[in-house]
């Protein structure tokens, strides 16, 4: 009986861990792109519109996934802000003329296509959407 309990606990734990792994998000750019590395702090500053380029001067343009769980999880993990806060925050940044919001693409496939077209673009994807040809800049969480 105890063994059975232990097995159930392990299976549940395994499922939870698998779920966590599936929820991993990656910040990516084109493998041949101009952006070689982005620290977590830089990523946060970029996606909050407080930085418009990397510290070495490399221009960075941002992509957003459409509103949904992946986008909400990305902002919550990176900036600590929930979806409502992020929308209000970015509205403020845009309508105060401080920054331009990330360009929204239709989904992961469109995001990958966009990255190939511009060496200065970065974007984020759920871990399982990662394909060869992309450079992983950051893994979240």
């Amino acid at each position: 009986m105890r063994l059975l309990c232990l097995r159930i606990v392990l299976v549940v734990l395994g499922l939870v861990l698998a779920g966590a792994a599936a929820a991993e998000l990656v910040l990516v750019t084109d493998a041949d792109g101009a952006i070689k590395a982005v620290s977590r702090e830089e990523a946060e500053q970029l996606y909050l519109g407080r930085l418009s380029a990397l510290k070495d001067g490399t221009a960075v343009r941002l992509l957003d996934l459409p509103p949904g769980p992946a986008r909400d999880a990305f902002y919550l993990e990176l900036t600590g802000k929930n979806a409502t806060q992020v929308r209000a925050y970015w509205s403020r940044m845009v309508f105060t003329g401080r920054a331009r919001p990330p360009r929204e693409v239709a989904g992961p496939a469109a995001l990958r296509a966009a990255l190939r077209s511009d060496p200065h673009l970065i974007g984020y994807l759920p871990g399982h959407e990662l394909v060869p040809g992309l450079r992983v800049l950051l893994r979240l969480p």
């Binding site: 407080r50 930085l51 418009s52 929930n82 929308r87 403020r92 845009v94 309508f95 003329g97 331009r100």
Partner: protein, 399 residues
């Protein structure tokens, strides 16, 4: 005169065409975004109307759509990797009671470095913590920012230049915004006001869920009035042999200073906002200060909130001891002193859209008009000393 009022209607059409072009625009170096509020206000007092010095409405008991409704469209045109031009058109009820779009922004923005930006042209005047997004009601909990604070400086935009320095010190984000405003202009039904050579600085400090802001500035002020109360008061002073006091009511060469300090705490669930602002002028306008304190609590898509607010006069334009009733009536009309309590709820109905309802009970000071205007003659139906209950409902959106 009438003919010149027609052309803005063409602009309204252009505004909507611009909105329609949004989807296609992003690929041509043009980035379009917009905001708006459709708001209605009901008052329990038929003799006054709220918050905008436009022509009186026909019947005060009907919902007033003019006080809060606004539509803005903003375009950013790329001129290069680090430079763009920003233009913002805003249509809100103006001093004539019309929704003629006004170019509230038109400036060149250049990123000198990743953390330093310079902007020149017609800018939003950065007097308050929330002044940058003042008409973008979507970004805050209320139907409108508290008038006790935000009524202290009615200049929305001005021609000038500002700098944005952003710096991260440890885990604290600091933004420094020195600004020089060459001229700002606003009109009301019977007159106008001009702000000249305003030099100021705004500092924003963000740490985790906390945002703190300080602002200070000073400039020159010129005011022209032509309303009956003004003429009545000035003629009374001249007849009483007080030409120096009469000259304090309107003219050029006034000096004005403005200070504000505010904070915002937003941990995702609890939102606390407070701001204090002070306006000091050596003539033409009442020196006054105001504060508000707001608490909002997010429960899923709903965020109920409560606000307390107060504005008090510090110094009158002219001493009331002069004792002419006309002057006293005039001084009442130039003081916005009042206190209010508001209860409301924000409902985020969809990404980029919020429905709001806000009930406000206002006590107007006995020697002030508060944020209200008389429906009929200002000589007989003064808002002074009234208690007004008000319900505001609005739909805010951004795109």
């Amino acid at each position: 005169m009438m003919a010149t009022h027609r052309w803005p209607h063409c602009l309204v059409g252009a505004l909507f065409a611009l909105v329609a072009a949004t989807a296609a625009a992003d690929h041509a170096g043009l980035h379009v975004s917009g905001f708006g509020t459709v708001g209605a206000v009901w008052l329990d007092d038929r003799e006054v109307f709220f918050n905008h010095p436009a022509a009186p409405r026909g019947d005060a008991s009907r919902p007033d759509f003019g006080a809060d409704s606004v539509l803005g469209v903003q375009g950013a045109f790329d001129l290069g990797e680090r430079t763009d031009v920003i233009v913002q058109l805003v249509a809100a009820e103006d001093y004539r009671g019309r929704y003629a779009p006004r170019m509230s922004w038109a400036y060149l923005r250049h990123h000198l470095s990743p953390r330093i930006t310079v902007r020149a042209g017609r800018l939003r005047a950065p007097f308050f913590m929330l002044s940058d997004g003042l008409q973008v009601n979507y970004v805050h909990p209320w139907v409108r920012p508290p008038v006790e604070v935000y009524g202290l400086n009615p200049f929305n935009d001005a021609e000038g230049v500002d700098l944005l320095f952003r710096r991260r010190v440890g885990t604290v984000d600091v933004e420094l915004q020195p600004h020089y405003l060459e001229r700002g202009h606003m009109r009301f039904p019977d007159g106008d006001a001009r702000l000249r050579r305003y030099l100021g600085v705004k500092v924003n400090i963000a740490y985790a869920a906390l945002n703190v802001q300080f602002g200070h500035g000073a400039g020159r002020l010129a005011v022209d009035y032509g309303d009956p109360l003004f003429e009545f008061a000035r003629n009374g002073l001249l007849a009483a042999g007080a030409p120096r006091q009469a000259a304090r009511l309107a003219g050029r060469g006034g000096r004005a200073r403005f200070d504000s300090i505010g904070f915002e705490w937003d941990d995702g669930t609890l939102q606390l906002i407070g701001e204090y602002a002070r306006r000091r002028a050596d003539r033409f306008v009442t020196s006054a200060h105001g504060w508000h304190l707001t608490a909002a609590y997010r429960l899923g898509a709903f965020a109920p909130f409560a606000t307390l607010a107060r504005q008090r006069p510090v110094r009158s334009i002219a001493p009331r001891s002069l004792g002419t009733p006309a002057l006293d009536a005039y001084l009442d009309s130039r003081s916005q002193a009042q206190k209010s309590v508001s209860l409301g709820v924000r409902w985020d109905v969809a990404p980029g859209a919020a429905l709001k309802a806000q009930w406000t009970r206002t006590h107007i000071d006995r020697d002030a008009w508060g944020a209200f205007f008389p429906q009929g003659s200002p000589l007989t139906g003064s808002p002074a000393g009234r208690r007004v209950d008000m319900l505001g409902m609005s739909l805010d959106f951004v795109f």
